[in-house]
Amino acid sequence: MSHAISMTVNGRSVSATVESRTLLTEFLRDNLRLTGTHVGCDTSQCGACTVHVNGKSVKSCTMLAVQCDGAEVLTIEGLANGEDLHPMQKAFNDHHGLQCGFCTPGMVMSALEVADNNSDPSDEDIAKGLAGNYCRCTGYENIYRAVKAGAKAMGS
C-alpha cells in the first residue's frame, strides 16, 4: 500500500509517494538525500536519528513517513544559515563536543529541545535531556560544555 504525502522539511514543501512501512529516516535520507540524519541502531535507543517534528524531538527511525503527512520537520541541515552555523552547532565546534561526529546531528537536535526549555541548563537537566542520545567517543564532558554554551548563546 502506498500513500501520497506532503510535509514541510526545513521550511521547504515536499511531496512524495511512500509505502506504509517507509520510515521517516528512510524518507529523509533516501528520498530527500538529507543524510545528516544518521542511523546508529535498530532498537530505537541511540538517538543519532533525532529530528524535530512539529517542534518536538523524535527518533525518526521510529516514525513512519506517512505519520508525518502535513507535519513540519526540522533536520540538522535546517539549522545553519548558509555558512553561518546555528549557535548550538557553533558551541559544539568551539567546545570540541564531538570526535567521530556520528552522534552529533542527533545530539544537536536533542540539545535544542534542552535549550528551548531552559537557557541555563544544569548538568542534571542536560543528562536528562540527552538520555536518549548515545555517544561512543567523547565521554560526554565536552558535549555538556557545548550544550551549556549553546543554550546560553540561544537565550541571549
Binding site: M1, H3, E19, S20, R21, L23, D42, T43, S44, Q45, G47, T50, K56, S57, V58, K59, T62, M63, L64, V66, Q67, D69, S110, E113, K128, G129, A131, G132, N133
Partner: protein
C-alpha cells in the same frame, strides 16, 4: 520491515470500525513499541490503524477527585501537565521517568498499558492508584486489566479511549531503572487513599500486581520501617540476567519504604 496497510483514524469509532475486531489489525499510537517490533519482524499485522491523531483521545481533565487522561496523551504531556502535578504529582513523576525525551514526546499511556510490558512504568500506577481503563465498549478496573506477561483483558480490536485515576491523599513512585534500557527493574507506587493503602508493583513479576503484604503492614503503621520490615516472597517473580527473583523481592520492600519516606 514487511509492508502493511495503513489507515489514519479520525475518531475512536472510525478506528474501531477499521480494526473490525480482527487479530491481524493493530492500533498504532506513539509507535515507540510497535514500530521497533515491526522492524524486528516480531509482529506482522496486515493493517495498522493510526490512533495518534484522534483529538478526542488526547488531553487531561480533572473533575472532582478524578484525573482522566486520554489514551493518546503522550508521556511528555502527562509529565509536564500542571493539572497532573497538582492533583497526583506521583503520576507526573512516573511519566517523567519513562525512557528518554524523544520517547516521551511520542509514547502514549494507552499504548503503554495495552502493551503490558512487565517492565513498563504506567502499570504500577494503574494498579497502585486503582485506575479505571475505559475502552470503546466498557470500563475495566485497574486491578483486572493486566492478566499475564504482555497480556491484558482487552479483546481483539478493543480500543482504550482513556484512563481515569482517583486522586489519592498522597502517593509516590519509586523506580529502580535498568541502567541500559531505562525500563523498571522494579517500580513501586505507594498510595494513601481514603479507602486504605495501595501498593502497585511493576518490573518484578510477569505483570503488575499489588503487594498486599506491604499494604497490610502500612495499613496499621504508615512508616518506612513497616514497609522495609516486610519480606516479600520471590515465588513467581522475574529471574533474568538483570536481577534474580530474590533481589527483586527485596527491592519491592526497599522502594516501598522510600516511597513512604518521600510521602512523609
Amino acid at each position: 520491515m514487511y509492508n502493511f496497510d495503513y489507515e489514519k483514524a479520525a475518531s475512536a469509532d472510525d478506528a474501531v470500525k477499521a480494526a473490525g475486531g480482527s487479530d491481524d489489525v493493530m492500533f498504532l499510537a506513539g509507535g515507540m513499541t510497535l514500530i521497533p517490533t515491526l522492524k524486528l519482524r516480531l509482529t506482522q499485522p496486515e493493517k495498522v490503524v493510526d490512533v495518534g491523531g484522534i483529538g478526542d483521545m488526547k488531553g487531561i481533565s480533572v473533575s472532582g477527585d478524578t484525573v482522566t487522561i486520554g489514551a493518546a496523551t503522550t508521556h511528555a504531556d502527562v509529565a509536564g501537565s500542571d493539572d497532573v502535578k497538582k492533583a497526583i504529582p506521583a503520576l507526573a513523576k512516573l511519566a517523567s521517568l519513562i525512557g528518554d525525551q524523544q520517547v516521551r514526546n511520542r509514547g502514549t499511556i494507552g499504548g503503554s498499558i495495552a502493551n503490558a510490558d512487565p517492565a513498563a512504568d504506567y502499570p504500577a500506577a494503574v494498579v497502585g492508584l486503582g485506575a479505571t481503563v475505559k475502552t470503546n465498549k466498557r470500563e475495566i478496573a485497574g486491578d483486572d486489566f493486566f492478566t499475564a506477561m504482555f497480556e491484558t483483558a482487552l479483546e481483539p480490536g478493543e480500543l482504550i479511549t482513556s484512563v481515569s485515576f482517583p486522586v489519592p491523599e498522597k502517593a509516590d513512585y519509586q523506580k529502580l531503572a535498568n541502567p541500559a534500557s531505562g525500563y523498571a527493574m522494579v517500580g513501586v507506587m505507594v498510595a494513601k487513599t481514603k479507602d486504605g493503602v495501595r501498593v502497585g508493583v511493576t518490573g518484578a513479576g510477569p505483570s503488575a500486581f499489588r503487594a498486599s503484604a506491604i499494604e497490610d503492614a502500612l495499613g496499621s503503621d504508615f512508616s518506612s520501617d513497616a514497609a522495609k520490615g516486610v519480606t516479600m516472597s520471590s515465588d513467581d517473580l522475574n529471574n533474568d540476567l538483570h536481577a534474580t527473583a530474590e533481589y527483586r523481592a527485596s527491592c519491592i520492600s526497599t522502594l516501598a519504604a522510600r516511597a513512604v519516606k518521600a510521602i512523609g
